[in-house]
Structure formats: structure tokens, C-alpha cells
Amino acid sequence: MKFLWSANPFKKNREQEAVAAALKNCYLFESFSVKELAYLKDRLHVRKYTVGENVFEQHQPGTGVYVLVSGSVAIEEESFFVDRKSDKETKKTTVIENLVSGNFFGEFALIDEEHIRPATAKIIEPSLIVTFFKPDFMELIKQHPSTGVKLCLRLAKVASERLKDAAEEIKKARS
């Protein structure tokens, strides 16, 4: 919804251009044609976030993938451990990754059944983010199977890369 006082046509165009460019450069959508991106346009949600806001929180159900158009996001993991000396439970927050414009996150929510977020996505700098949700992904597969397969393959590739990285980490930890 556009309010009269916030209806700036130039600003809107710049924002739209930035979103289109971010999608074109995003690994998940870079193989999409102009027509396929136009189909996605009505199903994408462009959102502005302020510093300190959470895009999603750890242990909550997740349904969408996020593409960072501008700004910065930190992926944080909260863990609890018991201090042996004081015997008290302490919360520890670990920053797993800092994301910048062009990065995407939360992609496993698209392929996972009843996905629960393993980490929190926290806004570090004012950000513009594009979201694509699972119900729309399911409809994309049904309505335009070839486009759906393109996205599926990219997601599979990302999953395999993550699996390789995890295997490497385990190998390092063992040795």
C-alpha cells in the first residue's frame, strides 16, 4: 500500500530496479528469463527492515527464502550451556555469518517439510529484502514446471554445497 505522503515515483523506480538487479544477480534466480521474473513479481514481497529487527527467529517455523537487496544481516545462533563453576545455565549467541547485499538466506524453508529455523536473522544495517514463500513456490512448480525445476535444481545445488562444507567441518574436527 502506498500512502500519499510516501508516494515518490522516482524512489519507487529506483527500488524496483534494485530489486530486479538483485534477483538477476542472485544465484537462485539468475537463470530465470525476463518472463519468468515477471511471473515472480506478483508473488514476491519487498520489505524494509530497521536495525535490530529480526527477519526470522531461531526455533520458529519458516516458509520463505530471503534475498538481501541492500543493507546487512547477521545470522546468529543461540545456544545454552551449563557453567560448571556456578552450575547456572548461560545463553551464548554466536554469529555464524554476516550477509551483504546480493546474498540470500533461509532457502531450506522452500524444500523442507515443516521447516524450523536453525538460526536467527538479525538486521545490522537498514535493509531492503525480497521474500519468496513456499506456497508460491509450490504453485510455481504446478503452473510452470520448467521454471519450478530451475529453482529446484539451484536449491539442490546449494544443499549439496552446504553438505560438502559440513562434511569438511566434521573431517577437520575429527582430525
Binding site: 514481497h45 530497521t50 517455523p61 516458509t63 514463500f133 503452473q143
Partner: protein, 349 residues
């Protein structure tokens, strides 16, 4: 006074307030104009039925609006063919039923007189009951009222014929935009939950409507085949009546069977016709309960029987027969929304 930390918070607050106000205004307006409300509800049902067809056309590469028009054309063609095929059947049967109703009523009156004559000597209280006079005043009066209300019903039907396709077209064409608009109204933190909620509600409502109509259709077909086999009159009209009333849970199947049983009793050549007709209706209900409901309604919304009866009476007093049909599905939709919101909030928090 509300103090906003930043511009985004202020916009979100206004958006959300606007959405809530809009929903409240829509509900109040619709409750005061039952005709529009009924048209909107029927359009929602129609859009859920036409959605898969429109999607198929869209998949073939046709623009959405053209797909909807093609779905309309296809539906209009089917309705026209059915109308042409069944004009002599259905319309003729309704007209015959209407014209022959005085005969049926006089048959019934004679049977009551005969019955009263046989038993009045034995049971004195039957004379006090004055069954014949009561039947004449109430029964025939009620039937005349029903038939005299047919022209009014037909005039409102014409308004529906104009309004429903109009509303359905926009519901189908702008469904995605409406969904996006609704989600855009939500604050950032509820965006994911909102998307999942809309998806869940949509899936439940779609399943409920399609299953209910399919169930009614199969039951109507069972009644049609059964009544054809026993050779009863007005079969098409009676099976359609049974199918439509089957949409009203609990009371519907009984009301749906009354005209058939009445025709068999007062018009049938032999006494066994009535028992055969009752058997047909009972068998159709049995097929419905044992086979159709478990298969079609695996994800059916469970509503308490007492709630159903209360809902049907409320629907009947607000919008007549249409209210009786719409009360339970509408409650089902609201229940689905409430359940989805409550479970989601529990999960999110």
C-alpha cells in the same frame, strides 16, 4: 498518544489499523445486505470451483482474464446443454408437480379421512385433534405459500445471475494481488506466519467446498438411479432437491427425502412404493456415510451436532433456505481461520 520509534513503525501501524477497519466495515455492510453477502459467498464457492480450470488454461499459456472467460464459456455451455436436455425433464417436472399438487393434496386428505374414519370410533381423542381441518389449513396453506414465493425467489435468482459471475471474475483474476495486498498490510514479524496462515486457510476452505459439493452430487446421483429403478415420478426434480438439501447437514437429508416419500405415498399405485422410496433415500445416505464421507471428507471440519442445529436455525432466520445451506460452510471457514490463527500464534510465540 502512540509514539512511533521510526517511520516504518508508523506506516505498519496505519496499514494494520486500515486492514482491521476495512474488515470490520465489510462484515457490518455485508450483514446488513444479506443479498450481497449471499452473492459474495456463492462467488467464493464458485471461484474455488473454477480455480483449477482457470489454472489449467493459464498453464497452457493463456492470459488469466482470458482463462477465466474460457472457464465461464465452458460452464455456460454445460449449463445450457443441461437446461436444453432437461427442460422437459426438470422444468416440466416442477411445473407438473406444481399443477398436480392439488390432486396430491386431495389424495392425502382422502387418506387421512379414511384413516380417521377407521380409528375415530376406537380412539375418541382423534375427534378432538380434527386432523382433516388441520391438514387443510396448515398443510395446504404452507404449500401454497411455498409455490407463491417461487416468483420472488426467481427474481432474486436473476440478481444472483448478474452479481455472482461479476464477483467471481474479480475474485479469480485478482486472487494473487489480494493475497499480496493482505500480506503487505502485515508488520514484518508476522509476514512468514501470515503467508503460512493464508495458505492453510485456503487449503482447508478449498477442500471443504469441493468435498461438500462432490458429496452432494454423488448423493443426488445415487437417489436419481434408485428412484428411476423403482419407477417414481419427478425423478430429476426429486434427486436435485435431495442433492441441494444434502448440503444442509443433519436436517438436510431428512428435508431432502420428504418430497420423494410424499410423492410415493400419495401418488404411488401401491403401498410398497413409499417403503421402497424410503429405502432408496436411506441407501443413498448409507452410501454417503460409509463410502463418500470417508473418501471425500478425510479432512472434513468436525463441528458439534448441537452447534450445527443452532447454526442452521440462525441461518434460516437470517437468510431462509440459502442461509441454511451457507450457515455451516461459513462457520467452517471461520473455524478454519480461527484454528489457523490460534495454532500459528502458539507456534510463532
Amino acid at each position: 498518544m502512540v509514539v512511533f520509534k521510526n517511520k516504518t513503525d508508523r506506516e505498519v501501524f496505519f496499514r494494520f489499523s486500515f486492514l482491521v477497519a476495512l474488515v470490520v466495515i465489510c462484515i457490518v455492510v455485508l450483514l446488513h445486505v444479506p443479498m450481497i453477502m449471499a452473492a459474495v459467498l456463492i462467488s467464493i464457492v464458485a471461484s474455488y470451483l473454477l480455480y483449477p480450470l482457470m489454472n489449467t488454461f493459464e498453464r497452457w499459456g493463456l492470459p488469466r482474464s482470458l482463462g477465466i472467460l474460457l472457464a465461464y464459456l465452458l460452464l455456460a455451455g454445460i449449463v445450457f446443454l443441461l437446461y436444453q436436455q432437461s427442460y422437459n425433464g426438470l422444468i416440466g417436472q416442477v411445473e407438473n408437480f406444481q399443477s398436480e399438487f392439488p390432486n396430491i393434496a386431495s389424495h392425502a386428505l382422502e387418506k387421512i379421512k379414511l384413516w380417521e374414519g377407521n380409528y375415530a370410533g376406537r380412539y375418541v381423542f382423534l375427534e378432538d385433534l380434527r386432523l382433516v381441518q388441520r391438514f387443510e389449513s396448515y398443510g395446504i396453506g404452507l404449500a401454497q405459500k411455498v409455490f407463491s414465493s417461487i416468483p420472488t425467489f426467481l427474481s432474486s435468482l436473476i440478481a444472483f445471475i448478474i452479481l455472482v459471475p461479476f464477483f467471481t471474475f474479480f475474485l479469480l483474476r485478482d486472487a494473487i494481488k489480494v493475497k499480496k495486498w493482505l500480506l503487505d498490510m502485515l508488520p514484518n514479524r508476522y509476514l512468514e506466519a501470515g503467508s503460512a496462515l493464508i495458505y492453510n486457510i485456503n487449503r482447508q476452505v478449498e477442500g471443504f467446498i469441493q468435498a461438500r459439493l462432490l458429496e452432494a452430487g454423488v448423493l443426488g446421483l445415487c437417489v436419481y438411479i434408485g428412484l428411476i429403478l423403482i419407477g417414481l415420478k419427478y425423478v430429476l426434480f426429486l434427486s436435485l432437491f435431495a442433492a441441494v438439501f444434502n448440503l444442509v447437514p443433519y436436517l438436510g437429508p431428512i428435508i431432502g427425502a420428504i418430497p420423494g416419500v410424499a410423492v410415493a405415498y400419495f401418488y404411488g399405485d401401491t403401498g410398497t412404493a413409499m417403503w421402497l422410496t424410503i429405502f432408496v433415500y436411506a441407501l443413498a445416505q448409507l452410501i454417503d456415510v460409509v463410502f463418500i464421507i470417508p473418501i471425500v471428507f478425510s479432512k472434513r471440519i468436525n463441528i458439534h451436532p448441537m452447534t450445527v442445529i443452532i447454526l442452521i436455525f440462525i441461518g434460516s432466520s437470517l437468510m431462509g433456505i440459502l442461509g441454511m445451506i451457507l450457515a455451516v460452510p461459513l462457520y467452517g471457514i471461520l473455524k478454519a481461520i480461527f484454528q489457523a490463527i490460534s495454532t500459528r500464534i502458539v507456534v510463532v510465540q
